[in-house]
């Protein structure tokens, strides 16, 4: 797992992907931080956090699209799958590499918090719960898009498929609203990520939501492992 993690990190930073991801994330978060907090001279950062949800919907598919699709295309997966490592370790190594890059990206918000701290008083508990929420939602998004990357050998398809899935999750509340049958509509709206996320942005620390995000991460990584297991046995 360590070897795969290190190789993926190396691959991120020796290609433009990591730099583009970080630059775009910093630019947009900086922009929203400026327009929602600095411009109005308020210490509340929830405006920026609300916008970041949409930013990661756009950015995460580009970050994970190559993880497995490229391995398949270049036939390098044969090297991984015949090496003395388990499938779990392979998937975990790649997942953690993407998660690490993502964490480097979102950690910029502590810089913004320090800026607020400099001018006034930052509410650190709210910032921390926001950070945790952003981390967990990103973790789920990475697991989903990594899973999609394992289904195809074309990274463009992986990116578009990932983007559509995340867009679907983003719009799940609107979809729940137009479902006429109430029981189904209720179940769908329970899956809403935005609801749970915005709870955190208001400083509410909900254990149920944390469990929800963590189980989604486990499920999609498990599915990725199953994709390889299935390919071996078919």
């Amino acid at each position: 797992m360590g070897a795969i993690f290190r190789r993926e990190m190396g691959a991120y930073f020796s290609s433009p992907i990591a730099y583009i991801f970080l630059a775009v994330f910093y630019a947009f978060s900086g922009f929203f931080f400026f327009t929602t907090s600095i411009m109005y001279s308020i210490s509340d950062m929830s405006g920026m956090f609300g916008s970041l949800f949409l930013i990661i919907v756009f950015l995460i598919p580009e970050m994970t699209m190559k993880l497995f699709s490229e391995e398949k295309k270049q036939k390098t997966e044969q090297g991984l799958l015949t090496a003395p490592v388990s499938l779990n370790a392979i998937v975990a190594g790649k997942y953690l590499a993407a998660l690490t890059l993502y964490t480097i990206g979102i950690s910029i918000i502590f810089l913004y918090a320090l800026i607020i701290e400099y001018f006034g008083n930052a509410d650190w508990s709210v910032i921390l719960s926001n950070y945790l929420a952003l981390f967990l939602v990103g973790g789920v998004f990475i697991a989903i898009t990594t899973f999609i990357s394992s289904l195809t050998e074309n990274q463009m398809i992986a990116a578009i498929g990932g983007f559509i899935s995340l867009m679907f999750i983003y719009m799940i509340d609107y979809i729940a609203e137009i479902i006429p049958w109430k029981p189904v509509s209720d179940v769908v709206s329970k899956l809403s990520f935005i609801d749970k996320y915005s709870e955190f942005t208001m400083g509410l620390f909900n254990i149920g939501s944390i469990v929800f995000f963590l189980s989604a991460i486990v499920i999609f990584n498990f599915l990725t492992v199953r994709v390889f297991e299935k390919r071996r046995w078919s």
């Binding site: 691959a11 997966e77 044969q78 090297g79 991984l80 490592v85």
Partner: protein, 391 residues
């Protein structure tokens, strides 16, 4: 070291590998020979744990690859058909990664340096793999397989796409490695297998059709007492005279090499040297010998014989003398037909073409029925065997 028992792999309805069994001892180089799509790569992929088998087992160094894949994989260095290279990495970084991936316990720098020197890539260590030539990429692939010094090396067409000099280098290297490792090597290039391997398995349509040493394989099918002679002289007469020679069992005059010049395939009774009497005969009758060579079959011919003809294949499997018998029968019947044809020619020169076609049809049906017969024999034999086994 490697034990494969009744390996079967289905892809849907297609049987890619059908009941393959073989063993390779320590320090042996086994050659896997077969036309494209015969099941060589599939077998290797099963052995290395890349894909699973439908049934059967593969045991590497005492460990079943299905039951304990991680341990079994740690004994194997695998070079797939397309080397699994991360083209954006430098050679050094890539080998470093493989070293970590295989969880090697050897001293890192010294080991990687040693492997690089072995496959002669020391001078490209700092370069990005993408920019290397095909030959170097192949060698990096080989280096990747060698990292960790695994006791078993499985190399899928290691010399494909290399230039002749590189091919010789890689072959020499494999031979060298074969002294300390167990090597399985696949190829559809026969000379390569012949040059490198101790043991050869010929595989066709997913089945092992021959499993023997290279020398035995060629000896089995070729015979010293067969000659190919190019003689100048009227075909009919030459044919008749040679056929009348003592000890000659069959003569086939097939290739026309010019006006009145033909190649004759002559077969005499085993252990009889007919070269001298033949020479005298030709001299006495006033013909000329333009060429004479023993009809030694190369591995190439053996390969073609085994993979082309179902009949030969079946008889090879049973490994008894039936094959020779059937072949002789066929030769004799062919001779008979030829003589019939000749007589017919004399009688009715005009209907020559139609006759010939009919004769060819006859021969074909003859061959077919014989093939079926031998197939039946084989299958009934097999059935008996399997029934016996069940009981």
């Amino acid at each position: 070291m490697i034990e494969v028992k009744n390996l079967v792999k289905h892809y849907g309805d297609k049987k890619a590998v059908n009941n393959i069994s073989f063993t390779v001892e320590k320090g042996e180089i086994l050659g896997f020979l077969g036309p494209n799509g015969a099941g060589k790569s599939t077998t290797m992929n099963i052995l290395t744990g890349y894909i699973s088998s439908t049934s059967g087992e593969a045991i590497i160094n005492g460990v079943d690859i299905m039951k304990n894949p991680i341990k079994a994989k740690s004994y194997i260095g695998y070079l797939p058909e397309i080397p699994p290279l991360y083209i954006d990495m430098t050679v050094e970084a890539y080998l470093d990664f493989v070293f970590d991936l295989k969880k090697c316990k050897l001293p890192r720098n010294a080991h990687i340096k040693e492997v690089c020197e072995l496959v002669k890539i020391t001078d490209v260590r700092k370069r990005i793999i993408k920019n290397l030539s095909k030959g170097y990429k192949q060698r990096v692939g080989l280096a990747q397989a060698l990292i960790g010094n695994p006791p078993v090396l499985i190399l899928d067409e290691p010399t494909v796409g290399l230039d002749p000099k590189q091919i010789i280098e890689i072959r020499t290297l494999i031979k060298k490695l074969g002294k300390t490792h167990t090597v399985i090597l696949s190829s559809h290039i026969l000379s390569e297998i012949q040059a490198v391997c101790d043991k050869i398995i010929i595989i066709n349509k997913g089945e092992v059709v021959a499993n023997d040493t290279a020398d035995n394989l060629t000896n089995n099918v070729s015979n010293d007492h067969k000659l190919i002679v190019r003689i100048e002289g009227p075909r009919e007469q030459v044919y008749k005279h040679i056929h009348a020679l003592d000890g000659v069992t069959s003569v086939i005059a097939d290739m026309n090499r010019g006006e009145n010049i033909y190649d004759y395939e002559i077969e005499a009774t085993p252990d009889l040297d007919i070269r001298r009497p033949l020479n005298t005969l030709v001299y006495e009758k006033g013909f000329n010998i333009l060429m004479m060579k023993p009809n030694d079959l190369t591995l190439e011919d053996v390969f073609l014989k085994i993979t082309m003809g179902e009949m030969v294949e079946d008889t090879f499997k049973t490994k008894d003398n039936k094959r020779t018998a059937v072949l002789n029968d066929l030769n004799i019947s062919f001779e008979n037909k030829k003589e019939e044809l000749k007589e017919d020619d004399n009688k009715k020169g005009k209907d020559e073409k139609a006759k010939k076609e009919a004769v060819i049809d006859d021969i074909l049906s003859d061959v077919e029925s014989k093939a079926k017969k031998s197939e039946k024999d084989v299958s009934s034999k097999n059935n008996k065997k399997s029934n016996g086994g069940k009981k």
